[in-house]
Symmetry: C4
Subunit: 217 residues, 4 copies
């Protein structure tokens, strides 16, 4: 039984990524399924499918927010595993807990869709987003402490930069939860903000580019 450590590590990493990609793909699909065709009485004067569809606009926006936010976390996981060289049982389990939080998103999204103005729905949704972020942070923190599962010579500045980038999400989402005590609508708007922060190419891309000399993210 002569393994090369690297090959085995790659295999394991590949299966964690496979489960992660599978769960993200299913969650992102199932999310949009929460939208149901409106049931309307076409005999009612003035009732029309198009007016009913316009009433769904806020729901559609909520689902889009969740889809893009899940995309953010998938990209974050993807960037992070770019650096991971080995895996161990603990990393597997931190990842599974992260995925459990991701798996709750269709539930909290449908909650927010059903009760858009309710502070409890806003907070449940926000708490889920915070948990997602902390899960991602946990994976990175565990993998990089004493360079446990990454390359020994990974720059401290890169480790810290990724930590800061990840924590922006939970910080903003927590602010959104706090604001829900004043205005649930403002909270929802705040939940959209991290999208703009994360989608724009940040320092980390420049950093990686400089380090490796190619434009791979």
């Amino acid at each position: 039984m002569a393994f090369t450590g690297l090959r085995e590590a790659g295999l394991t990493k590949a299966r964690i990524e496979a489960l992660t990609d599978g769960i993200f793909a299913t969650v992102m699909t199932v999310l949009v399924l929460g939208l149901r065709p409106p049931t309307i009485d076409l005999n009612t004067p003035g009732a029309s499918l198009s007016s009913e569809l316009f009433k769904l606009a806020p729901n559609i926006l909520t689902y889009a927010l969740s889809f893009i936010t899940l995309g953010l976390y998938w990209v974050g996981h993807h960037n992070q595993f770019h650096f991971v060289r080995r895996t161990d049982r603990t990393l597997l389990w931190i990842n599974i807990v992260f995925l459990m939080s991701i798996g709750f998103v269709p539930f909290t999204t449908s909650l927010l869709g059903a009760y858009p103005g309710d502070p409890a729905a806003v907070r449940a949704y926000g708490a889920n987003l915070v948990a997602n972020g902390l899960g991602l942070y946990g994976t990175w923190w565990y993998a990089t402490s004493s360079r446990r599962l990454v390359d020994r010579d990974l720059a401290s500045s890169t480790v810290a930069l990724v930590k800061r980038r990840i924590l922006v999400g939970p910080a903003v989402f927590s602010t959104g939860i706090a604001v829900s005590f004043v205005s649930p609508l403002a909270s929802t708007i705040i939940f959209f903000l991290p999208i703009f922060y994360y989608i724009l190419p940040g320092h980390i891309d420049v950093h990686i580019r400089g380090e490796h000399g190619h434009e791979e993210k």
Copy 2:
């Protein structure tokens, strides 16, 4: 941390493909789930399951249309990524927005299934198909502009040929939407047309075959 750019690019491309394949697989499955066994009162004189199943025929046809159309876009994505050599954050996000549009297909399909004659349902479905096509076009446009993420010596004629092929879909689907102001039924028939265009092997296949000298798609 000595990466070979190529290996890393392959890894990233592999995960985008994994998410894409996962979402397509789930969407295509979930689509057919919209069909529910008819609930019939077997005591009613003349009521029978087989007659109820025949009434489902238009729904089954709608679902088949969506399944095949999703297949078209999956094949399109697949052909496109054949040429992609590198990835970056922007490509990731164009791809995620494309997948969000794909993820809406079960919703607009069930809408069309529930209100087959309604122009609003026809237009919502058509708009979704147009958005799918534009998402695919966006990926290709971004990847090939200044040969950003493809081989530097990829022929301009290939880039243009793929662009033209992709845009046939949105063009026909837009025509279908316009026709819905006259006849929603005619629209639905028009939505079927791109299937015949895309399924038949086109110039692009010949082109690739000539260029590489093997029968790979």
Copy 3:
């Protein structure tokens, strides 16, 4: 753009397999979801959850039948692609039509679960199983005609053996449909028979083993 034909072919095959595995995984999961907890009135004298669960036994058996039958087709696809060396657009589309048939299984299964004694439900379910088998046959027929997408020196006896094995399914399922005009229950029993035929290691395994000298399936 210097491709090695083999590597590219491998890539394409990998993505067809990825979509196939993804759809099978989702269909097989979604299938069992058709089982819903019974809604019982625990205040009714004599009503109990355990007696209600026993009443679900035929449904559970139907779902198990579909799950195992899907497993059969997945293994069949898997065995077939063992021999496929190249892909082309036509193979992609035969495969997508095959997957569309597979995607209908949760619908026809829930139909059979809802109307177990109804000949129409039995026939719809049987027709779906026949379509699955013909889809698999189509892939193999297309790939092996003139050795289009397989190794040029693949033995004719292997091609014919695989064809015969695949057709046993549709032949038995068609018999089951015919029997439904006499006894729908007998049909359902007949639908179980191919499981025993396919699960037992057949000549094809011995054949492959002999040819390659290793115990690979």
Copy 4:
């Protein structure tokens, strides 16, 4: 047709893993979908979404239990396939039966969620967990008997250690079922216990680490 046995074996193993990962990903996602937003009448005095959400706490806990337990079995499968070198038809089928048992988890979980205090629900859920464990045991037993599908020099102590570890689950879950005749609540608590046993790194990790000289699980 000159195969290298190893490459083909790897391919086959890869597809079994792909189906397994896909089914686990879908099951784990679909599980959490069983949670539905509460339907409340906000006009009722004292009714509030937050109080209704608190009532969901036991359901959320049940779903978390199932998610983590599925994670356990996924990790177990993952660890096991680390050692598998070849596959055959029988292994494929043991694995498919194992996956069928995994696929039932959303059903038995929603059963336990709907009837938390009912002994029948507790036993159905426990029986499903036992079946999962026996399925995993079956795979390992079959693969390692006479070193059928693993390396010939795999230590007997490793084989036995893995067997013992796997059987802890079914043993504890069976105890939980027995306890349900006295207290269904106590059963549910017992169902949680294996989580602590499996999540903590055990002798097997130390064993593998010592054998291979790297920290790969």
